[in-house]
Protein backbone atom coordinates (compact mmCIF):
# COMPACT_ATOMS: atom_id res chain seq x y z
CA UNK A 1 0.00 0.00 0.00
CA UNK A 2 1.16 3.49 -0.84
CA UNK A 3 0.38 6.59 1.22
CA UNK A 4 -0.31 9.72 -0.80
CA UNK A 5 0.92 12.81 1.08
CA UNK A 6 -0.70 16.09 0.14
CA UNK A 7 2.09 18.54 -0.53
CA UNK A 8 0.41 21.93 -0.55
CA UNK A 9 3.64 23.86 -0.13
CA UNK A 10 3.69 24.73 3.55
CA UNK A 11 3.46 21.40 5.38
CA UNK A 12 6.40 19.57 6.89
CA UNK A 13 6.30 16.91 4.23
CA UNK A 14 9.92 15.72 4.51
CA UNK A 15 9.51 14.89 8.23
CA UNK A 16 6.43 12.82 7.51
CA UNK A 17 8.11 11.10 4.57
CA UNK A 18 11.10 10.17 6.69
CA UNK A 19 8.86 8.82 9.45
CA UNK A 20 6.99 6.62 6.95
CA UNK A 21 10.27 5.51 5.40
CA UNK A 22 11.56 4.43 8.80
CA UNK A 23 8.67 1.97 9.04
CA UNK A 24 9.15 0.74 5.51
CA UNK A 25 6.00 2.33 4.06
CA UNK A 26 5.90 3.61 0.52
CA UNK A 27 4.76 7.19 0.05
CA UNK A 28 4.14 9.61 -2.75
CA UNK A 29 3.97 13.36 -2.33
CA UNK A 30 1.62 15.16 -4.62
CA UNK A 31 -0.21 18.38 -5.30
CA UNK A 32 -2.10 16.91 -8.26
CA UNK A 33 -5.91 16.56 -8.04
CA UNK A 34 -5.79 13.31 -10.08
CA UNK A 35 -3.31 11.61 -7.75
CA UNK A 36 -5.60 12.43 -4.80
CA UNK A 37 -8.65 10.96 -6.49
CA UNK A 38 -6.82 7.69 -7.14
CA UNK A 39 -5.10 7.40 -3.75
CA UNK A 40 -5.16 4.23 -1.61
CA UNK A 41 -4.55 6.24 1.56
CA UNK A 42 -4.24 9.98 2.12
CA UNK A 43 -2.15 11.92 4.60
CA UNK A 44 -2.48 15.67 5.15
CA UNK A 45 0.37 17.04 7.27
CA UNK A 46 0.23 20.60 8.50
CA UNK A 47 2.19 23.29 10.23
CA UNK A 48 1.80 27.02 10.17
CA UNK A 49 -1.28 29.10 9.54
CA UNK A 50 -4.77 27.72 8.89
CA UNK A 51 -5.32 30.29 6.12
CA UNK A 52 -2.19 29.17 4.26
CA UNK A 53 -3.45 25.58 4.18
CA UNK A 54 -7.01 26.42 3.10
CA UNK A 55 -5.85 28.88 0.43
CA UNK A 56 -3.32 26.39 -0.93
CA UNK A 57 -5.97 23.65 -1.14
CA UNK A 58 -8.20 25.97 -3.13
CA UNK A 59 -5.49 27.47 -5.34
CA UNK A 60 -4.26 24.01 -6.29
CA UNK A 61 -7.84 22.74 -6.80
CA UNK A 62 -7.34 20.05 -4.19
CA UNK A 63 -10.45 20.67 -2.07
CA UNK A 64 -12.97 18.82 -4.23
CA UNK A 65 -10.83 15.72 -4.93
CA UNK A 66 -9.81 15.56 -1.25
CA UNK A 67 -13.37 15.79 0.06
CA UNK A 68 -14.51 13.37 -2.65
CA UNK A 69 -11.84 10.80 -1.78
CA UNK A 70 -12.59 11.03 1.95
CA UNK A 71 -16.36 10.74 1.35
CA UNK A 72 -15.78 7.70 -0.86
CA UNK A 73 -14.02 5.94 2.03
CA UNK A 74 -10.30 6.40 1.30
CA UNK A 75 -8.45 6.14 4.64
CA UNK A 76 -7.34 9.63 5.65
CA UNK A 77 -4.89 10.80 8.31
CA UNK A 78 -4.76 14.50 9.19
CA UNK A 79 -1.93 15.88 11.31
CA UNK A 80 -2.18 19.13 13.33
CA UNK A 81 -3.64 21.63 10.81
CA UNK A 82 -4.68 18.52 8.86
CA UNK A 83 -7.03 17.79 11.79
CA UNK A 84 -8.26 21.36 12.13
CA UNK A 85 -9.19 21.71 8.47
CA UNK A 86 -11.69 18.84 8.79
CA UNK A 87 -14.05 21.13 10.71
CA UNK A 88 -16.36 23.83 9.37
CA UNK A 89 -14.00 26.72 10.09
CA UNK A 90 -11.34 28.04 12.47
CA UNK A 91 -11.09 31.18 14.60
CA UNK A 92 -7.57 31.55 13.18
CA UNK A 93 -9.15 32.65 9.86
CA UNK A 94 -12.89 32.74 10.39
CA UNK A 95 -13.65 34.12 6.92
CA UNK A 96 -12.41 30.88 5.33
CA UNK A 97 -14.29 27.60 4.98
CA UNK A 98 -12.78 24.35 6.19
CA UNK A 99 -13.56 20.97 4.64
CA UNK A 100 -16.71 20.72 6.77
CA UNK A 101 -16.43 16.94 7.15
CA UNK A 102 -16.88 17.18 10.93
CA UNK A 103 -19.33 19.37 12.85
CA UNK A 104 -18.10 22.30 14.91
CA UNK A 105 -15.35 24.84 14.60
CA UNK A 106 -11.73 25.19 15.70
CA UNK A 107 -11.17 27.67 18.55
CA UNK A 108 -8.22 29.56 19.97
CA UNK A 109 -6.91 27.90 23.14
CA UNK A 110 -7.90 30.14 26.07
CA UNK A 111 -5.34 32.52 27.61
CA UNK A 112 -3.91 31.86 31.07
CA UNK A 113 -1.50 29.15 29.93
CA UNK A 114 1.67 29.41 27.86
CA UNK A 115 0.81 29.54 24.18
CA UNK A 116 1.55 28.04 21.72
CA UNK A 117 0.85 24.74 23.48
CA UNK A 118 4.32 23.48 22.71
CA UNK A 119 5.96 20.31 23.86
CA UNK A 120 5.17 16.82 25.08
CA UNK A 121 1.80 16.09 26.62
CA UNK A 122 -0.37 13.10 27.44
CA UNK A 123 -3.77 12.19 26.05
CA UNK A 124 -6.90 10.77 27.66
CA UNK A 125 -8.96 8.16 25.82
CA UNK A 126 -12.69 8.87 25.49
CA UNK A 127 -13.32 5.48 23.98
CA UNK A 128 -11.47 2.67 22.26
CA UNK A 129 -8.99 4.14 19.82
CA UNK A 130 -7.52 2.30 16.84
CA UNK A 131 -4.77 4.88 16.39
CA UNK A 132 -3.69 4.51 20.02
CA UNK A 133 -3.80 0.69 20.00
CA UNK A 134 -0.82 -0.82 21.82
CA UNK A 135 0.35 2.54 23.21
CA UNK A 136 0.74 3.02 26.99
CA UNK A 137 -1.87 5.24 28.64
CA UNK A 138 0.91 7.51 29.95
CA UNK A 139 2.63 8.01 26.59
CA UNK A 140 3.63 11.51 25.56
CA UNK A 141 3.11 13.13 22.16
CA UNK A 142 4.59 16.32 20.72
CA UNK A 143 2.17 19.24 20.30
CA UNK A 144 2.80 22.66 18.72
CA UNK A 145 -0.38 24.69 18.22
CA UNK A 146 -2.47 27.60 19.52
CA UNK A 147 -5.85 26.55 18.08
CA UNK A 148 -7.77 23.35 18.72
CA UNK A 149 -11.11 21.60 18.33
CA UNK A 150 -12.61 22.33 21.75
CA UNK A 151 -16.06 21.07 20.84
CA UNK A 152 -16.14 17.52 22.03
CA UNK A 153 -18.15 15.42 19.65
CA UNK A 154 -18.62 11.80 18.74
CA UNK A 155 -15.56 11.81 16.48
CA UNK A 156 -13.17 12.51 19.37
CA UNK A 157 -11.41 9.32 20.48
CA UNK A 158 -8.96 11.01 22.88
CA UNK A 159 -8.46 14.46 24.34
CA UNK A 160 -5.59 16.50 25.69
CA UNK A 161 -5.76 19.41 28.07
CA UNK A 162 -3.94 22.75 28.00
CA UNK A 163 -6.06 25.60 29.29
CA UNK A 164 -9.04 23.66 27.96
CA UNK A 165 -9.80 20.12 26.92
CA UNK A 166 -9.53 19.59 23.18
CA UNK A 167 -9.61 16.82 20.59
CA UNK A 168 -6.20 15.13 20.36
CA UNK A 169 -7.29 12.06 18.38
CA UNK A 170 -10.22 11.89 15.99
CA UNK A 171 -11.59 8.70 14.50
CA UNK A 172 -14.76 8.54 12.45
CA UNK A 173 -15.11 5.75 9.91
CA UNK A 174 -12.21 6.30 7.48
CA UNK A 175 -11.33 9.71 8.93
CA UNK A 176 -8.37 9.69 11.33
CA UNK A 177 -6.69 12.80 12.67
CA UNK A 178 -4.31 13.83 15.45
CA UNK A 179 -3.59 17.28 16.86
CA UNK A 180 -0.05 16.23 17.87
CA UNK A 181 2.80 15.47 15.48
CA UNK A 182 3.27 11.68 15.31
CA UNK A 183 6.27 12.20 13.03
CA UNK A 184 7.96 14.13 15.87
CA UNK A 185 6.69 12.05 18.79
CA UNK A 186 9.39 9.39 19.05
CA UNK A 187 8.33 5.77 19.49
CA UNK A 188 4.75 6.52 20.54
CA UNK A 189 4.26 8.66 17.43
CA UNK A 190 5.74 5.96 15.20
CA UNK A 191 3.22 3.54 16.67
CA UNK A 192 0.33 5.87 15.74
CA UNK A 193 1.57 6.01 12.14
CA UNK A 194 1.97 2.23 12.09
CA UNK A 195 -1.57 1.84 13.39
CA UNK A 196 -2.84 4.09 10.60
CA UNK A 197 -0.93 2.07 7.99
CA UNK A 198 -2.46 -1.13 9.36
CA UNK A 199 -5.98 0.38 9.36
CA UNK A 200 -5.52 1.67 5.81
CA UNK A 201 -4.15 -1.60 4.42
Amino acid sequence: MKVTILDYGAGNVPSVERALQRMGAESLRTSSPDCISGAQALLLPGVGHYAALVRALDEKNLRAPLVGAIRSGVPFLGICLGLQVLFKSSEEASQLQGLNLLPGIVNALPPGVKLPHMGWNQVKKKRESSLLAGIDAGAYFYFAHSYAALDSNGATAATCSHGAEFAAVIEQQNIYAVQFHPEKSGDSGARVLQNFLRLAA
Partner: protein, 254 residues
Protein backbone atom coordinates in the same frame (compact mmCIF):
# COMPACT_ATOMS: atom_id res chain seq x y z
CA UNK B 1 -1.43 15.17 33.38
CA UNK B 2 0.21 18.25 32.03
CA UNK B 3 2.85 19.50 29.66
CA UNK B 4 6.23 17.88 30.34
CA UNK B 5 9.32 19.99 30.97
CA UNK B 6 11.66 19.59 28.04
CA UNK B 7 15.36 18.73 27.99
CA UNK B 8 17.05 20.03 24.86
CA UNK B 9 20.63 19.26 23.86
CA UNK B 10 22.26 21.87 21.65
CA UNK B 11 24.79 21.24 18.91
CA UNK B 12 26.95 24.29 18.17
CA UNK B 13 28.35 23.54 14.76
CA UNK B 14 31.00 24.96 12.52
CA UNK B 15 30.51 23.48 9.08
CA UNK B 16 30.02 19.75 9.56
CA UNK B 17 31.49 19.42 13.06
CA UNK B 18 30.15 20.10 16.56
CA UNK B 19 32.37 22.53 18.43
CA UNK B 20 32.43 23.91 21.93
CA UNK B 21 34.04 26.72 23.84
CA UNK B 22 33.26 29.34 26.43
CA UNK B 23 31.63 32.40 24.85
CA UNK B 24 32.76 31.33 21.41
CA UNK B 25 36.41 31.49 22.46
CA UNK B 26 38.82 28.57 22.27
CA UNK B 27 36.60 26.33 20.13
CA UNK B 28 37.30 22.62 20.34
CA UNK B 29 35.95 19.79 18.24
CA UNK B 30 33.22 17.91 20.10
CA UNK B 31 32.15 15.37 17.53
CA UNK B 32 29.98 14.45 14.60
CA UNK B 33 26.56 16.15 14.66
CA UNK B 34 24.79 13.19 13.07
CA UNK B 35 26.16 10.68 15.60
CA UNK B 36 25.34 12.99 18.52
CA UNK B 37 21.82 13.64 17.19
CA UNK B 38 21.15 9.91 16.91
CA UNK B 39 22.43 9.37 20.45
CA UNK B 40 20.27 12.12 21.96
CA UNK B 41 17.21 10.99 20.02
CA UNK B 42 17.65 7.49 21.47
CA UNK B 43 18.41 8.74 25.01
CA UNK B 44 15.11 10.61 25.30
CA UNK B 45 15.94 14.21 24.34
CA UNK B 46 12.69 16.13 23.81
CA UNK B 47 14.01 18.30 20.98
CA UNK B 48 17.34 19.18 19.43
CA UNK B 49 18.81 22.57 18.59
CA UNK B 50 21.52 22.97 15.94
CA UNK B 51 23.27 26.32 15.71
CA UNK B 52 25.72 27.47 13.08
CA UNK B 53 28.00 29.46 15.34
CA UNK B 54 30.39 30.52 12.57
CA UNK B 55 27.41 31.64 10.44
CA UNK B 56 29.62 32.56 7.53
CA UNK B 57 27.96 32.89 4.14
CA UNK B 58 30.34 30.60 2.27
CA UNK B 59 29.84 27.76 4.72
CA UNK B 60 26.04 27.97 4.76
CA UNK B 61 25.63 25.10 2.26
CA UNK B 62 27.63 22.85 4.59
CA UNK B 63 25.39 23.85 7.50
CA UNK B 64 22.23 23.13 5.50
CA UNK B 65 23.63 19.72 4.62
CA UNK B 66 24.29 19.16 8.35
CA UNK B 67 20.63 20.02 9.08
CA UNK B 68 19.48 17.51 6.44
CA UNK B 69 21.66 14.74 7.85
CA UNK B 70 20.69 15.51 11.46
CA UNK B 71 16.96 15.71 10.63
CA UNK B 72 17.14 12.28 9.02
CA UNK B 73 18.16 10.82 12.42
CA UNK B 74 15.41 12.42 14.48
CA UNK B 75 11.92 11.42 15.55
CA UNK B 76 11.76 14.60 17.68
CA UNK B 77 11.54 18.29 16.71
CA UNK B 78 14.58 20.10 15.36
CA UNK B 79 15.33 23.81 15.76
CA UNK B 80 18.04 25.36 13.61
CA UNK B 81 19.61 28.77 13.33
CA UNK B 82 22.68 30.93 13.60
CA UNK B 83 23.12 33.75 11.14
CA UNK B 84 19.48 33.83 10.00
CA UNK B 85 19.11 37.33 8.54
CA UNK B 86 16.27 37.05 6.04
CA UNK B 87 13.05 35.18 5.36
CA UNK B 88 14.95 33.34 2.63
CA UNK B 89 17.56 32.15 5.18
CA UNK B 90 14.69 30.85 7.31
CA UNK B 91 13.11 29.07 4.36
CA UNK B 92 16.42 27.35 3.61
CA UNK B 93 16.71 25.79 7.08
CA UNK B 94 13.04 24.76 7.12
CA UNK B 95 13.41 23.16 3.68
CA UNK B 96 16.50 21.36 4.95
CA UNK B 97 14.34 19.72 7.65
CA UNK B 98 14.16 22.09 10.64
CA UNK B 99 10.78 22.40 12.38
CA UNK B 100 11.65 25.74 13.96
CA UNK B 101 13.96 28.59 13.08
CA UNK B 102 15.87 30.54 15.70
CA UNK B 103 16.82 34.18 15.18
CA UNK B 104 18.94 36.49 17.29
CA UNK B 105 21.09 39.47 16.21
CA UNK B 106 19.30 40.10 12.91
CA UNK B 107 15.93 40.23 14.71
CA UNK B 108 17.26 42.83 17.17
CA UNK B 109 18.41 44.93 14.24
CA UNK B 110 15.21 44.37 12.23
CA UNK B 111 12.29 43.06 14.35
CA UNK B 112 10.14 42.69 11.19
CA UNK B 113 12.15 39.52 10.49
CA UNK B 114 10.18 37.87 13.32
CA UNK B 115 6.82 38.80 11.78
CA UNK B 116 7.93 37.67 8.32
CA UNK B 117 8.96 34.24 9.58
CA UNK B 118 5.88 33.95 11.80
CA UNK B 119 3.49 34.74 8.95
CA UNK B 120 5.08 32.13 6.73
CA UNK B 121 5.70 29.28 9.19
CA UNK B 122 3.46 30.10 12.15
CA UNK B 123 4.51 31.39 15.59
CA UNK B 124 5.23 27.84 16.78
CA UNK B 125 8.14 27.73 14.30
CA UNK B 126 9.80 30.99 15.35
CA UNK B 127 12.19 30.85 18.29
CA UNK B 128 13.69 34.14 19.41
CA UNK B 129 17.11 33.66 20.96
CA UNK B 130 17.96 36.29 23.57
CA UNK B 131 21.44 36.53 25.03
CA UNK B 132 21.02 38.53 28.24
CA UNK B 133 23.57 40.01 30.61
CA UNK B 134 22.97 41.59 33.99
CA UNK B 135 23.49 45.34 34.01
CA UNK B 136 22.61 47.00 37.32
CA UNK B 137 18.95 46.37 38.08
CA UNK B 138 18.03 44.92 34.68
CA UNK B 139 19.31 42.66 31.90
CA UNK B 140 20.78 43.94 28.65
CA UNK B 141 20.25 42.22 25.32
CA UNK B 142 23.60 41.17 23.88
CA UNK B 143 24.25 40.54 20.20
CA UNK B 144 27.01 39.16 17.97
CA UNK B 145 27.56 36.02 19.98
CA UNK B 146 27.07 37.74 23.32
CA UNK B 147 29.92 40.19 22.79
CA UNK B 148 28.12 43.46 22.13
CA UNK B 149 25.34 45.20 24.05
CA UNK B 150 22.31 46.15 21.99
CA UNK B 151 21.44 48.76 24.68
CA UNK B 152 18.01 47.27 25.04
CA UNK B 153 16.18 45.84 28.06
CA UNK B 154 15.76 42.07 27.77
CA UNK B 155 12.23 42.01 29.27
CA UNK B 156 11.03 44.74 26.94
CA UNK B 157 12.59 43.02 23.94
CA UNK B 158 11.00 39.70 24.88
CA UNK B 159 7.52 41.28 25.09
CA UNK B 160 8.00 43.10 21.81
CA UNK B 161 9.25 39.99 20.02
CA UNK B 162 6.28 37.94 21.22
CA UNK B 163 3.91 40.64 19.99
CA UNK B 164 5.73 40.48 16.64
CA UNK B 165 5.11 36.74 16.37
CA UNK B 166 7.82 34.80 18.22
CA UNK B 167 6.36 31.56 19.57
CA UNK B 168 9.13 30.66 21.98
CA UNK B 169 12.14 32.26 23.64
CA UNK B 170 15.54 30.64 23.92
CA UNK B 171 17.08 32.59 26.76
CA UNK B 172 20.82 32.39 27.36
CA UNK B 173 22.44 33.98 30.36
CA UNK B 174 25.72 35.43 29.12
CA UNK B 175 26.81 35.72 32.77
CA UNK B 176 26.33 32.01 33.41
CA UNK B 177 27.20 30.56 29.99
CA UNK B 178 30.15 28.20 30.26
CA UNK B 179 30.49 28.60 34.03
CA UNK B 180 28.67 25.38 34.98
CA UNK B 181 27.48 27.19 38.13
CA UNK B 182 23.77 26.71 37.41
CA UNK B 183 21.12 28.42 35.28
CA UNK B 184 20.23 32.06 35.93
CA UNK B 185 17.03 31.60 37.94
CA UNK B 186 16.23 35.30 38.44
CA UNK B 187 16.63 36.14 34.74
CA UNK B 188 14.63 33.14 33.55
CA UNK B 189 11.79 33.69 36.02
CA UNK B 190 11.58 37.37 35.07
CA UNK B 191 11.38 36.66 31.33
CA UNK B 192 9.06 33.68 31.76
CA UNK B 193 6.60 35.83 33.75
CA UNK B 194 6.88 38.71 31.28
CA UNK B 195 5.72 36.70 28.25
CA UNK B 196 2.96 34.25 27.39
CA UNK B 197 5.12 31.94 25.25
CA UNK B 198 7.32 29.05 26.46
CA UNK B 199 10.83 29.90 27.62
CA UNK B 200 13.89 27.67 27.16
CA UNK B 201 16.60 28.38 29.75
CA UNK B 202 20.21 28.11 28.68
CA UNK B 203 23.65 28.75 30.10
CA UNK B 204 25.39 27.44 33.18
CA UNK B 205 24.01 23.93 33.60
CA UNK B 206 26.06 21.14 35.10
CA UNK B 207 24.30 19.31 37.93
CA UNK B 208 20.89 17.64 37.86
CA UNK B 209 19.94 19.98 40.73
CA UNK B 210 20.45 22.94 38.39
CA UNK B 211 17.70 21.58 36.15
CA UNK B 212 15.30 21.01 39.07
CA UNK B 213 15.94 24.58 40.21
CA UNK B 214 15.33 26.18 36.79
CA UNK B 215 12.04 24.33 36.38
CA UNK B 216 10.77 24.80 39.95
CA UNK B 217 12.04 28.31 40.73
CA UNK B 218 12.94 29.70 37.32
CA UNK B 219 9.56 28.94 35.70
CA UNK B 220 11.35 27.53 32.65
CA UNK B 221 9.36 25.40 30.22
CA UNK B 222 12.47 23.76 28.82
CA UNK B 223 16.18 23.66 29.57
CA UNK B 224 19.02 23.55 27.09
CA UNK B 225 22.61 22.44 27.51
CA UNK B 226 25.48 21.43 25.27
CA UNK B 227 28.84 20.28 26.55
CA UNK B 228 27.59 18.45 29.66
CA UNK B 229 25.70 16.15 27.30
CA UNK B 230 28.45 15.90 24.67
CA UNK B 231 31.04 15.07 27.38
CA UNK B 232 28.65 12.65 29.08
CA UNK B 233 28.87 14.61 32.36
CA UNK B 234 25.07 14.11 32.28
CA UNK B 235 23.12 11.48 30.44
CA UNK B 236 19.67 12.64 29.39
CA UNK B 237 18.15 9.44 30.67
CA UNK B 238 19.57 9.69 34.22
CA UNK B 239 18.88 13.42 34.30
CA UNK B 240 15.23 12.80 33.50
CA UNK B 241 14.98 10.07 36.11
CA UNK B 242 16.40 12.51 38.66
CA UNK B 243 13.90 15.20 37.61
CA UNK B 244 10.97 12.77 37.86
CA UNK B 245 12.11 11.68 41.34
CA UNK B 246 12.28 15.39 42.30
CA UNK B 247 8.68 15.96 41.28
CA UNK B 248 9.34 17.60 37.91
CA UNK B 249 7.07 16.32 35.16
CA UNK B 250 9.18 14.91 32.32
CA UNK B 251 8.72 12.46 29.48
CA UNK B 252 10.70 9.41 30.53
CA UNK B 253 12.27 7.48 27.70
CA UNK B 254 11.21 3.85 27.30
Amino acid sequence: MSLAHRIIPCLDTDGDRVVKGVNFVGLRDAGDPVALAARYNAEGADELVVLDIAASRDRRPTFLETIRRVAAELAIPLTAGGGIRTLEDGRAVVRAGADKVTVNTAAVERPALISELSREFGAQAVVLAIDAKRSGDHWDVMVRGGRESASRDALEWARLAVAAGAGEILLTSVDRDGTQSGFDVALTAAISRAVTVPVIASGGAKLPEHFVEIFQQGAADAALAASIFHDEVQSIRTLKEFLAASGVEVRLPC
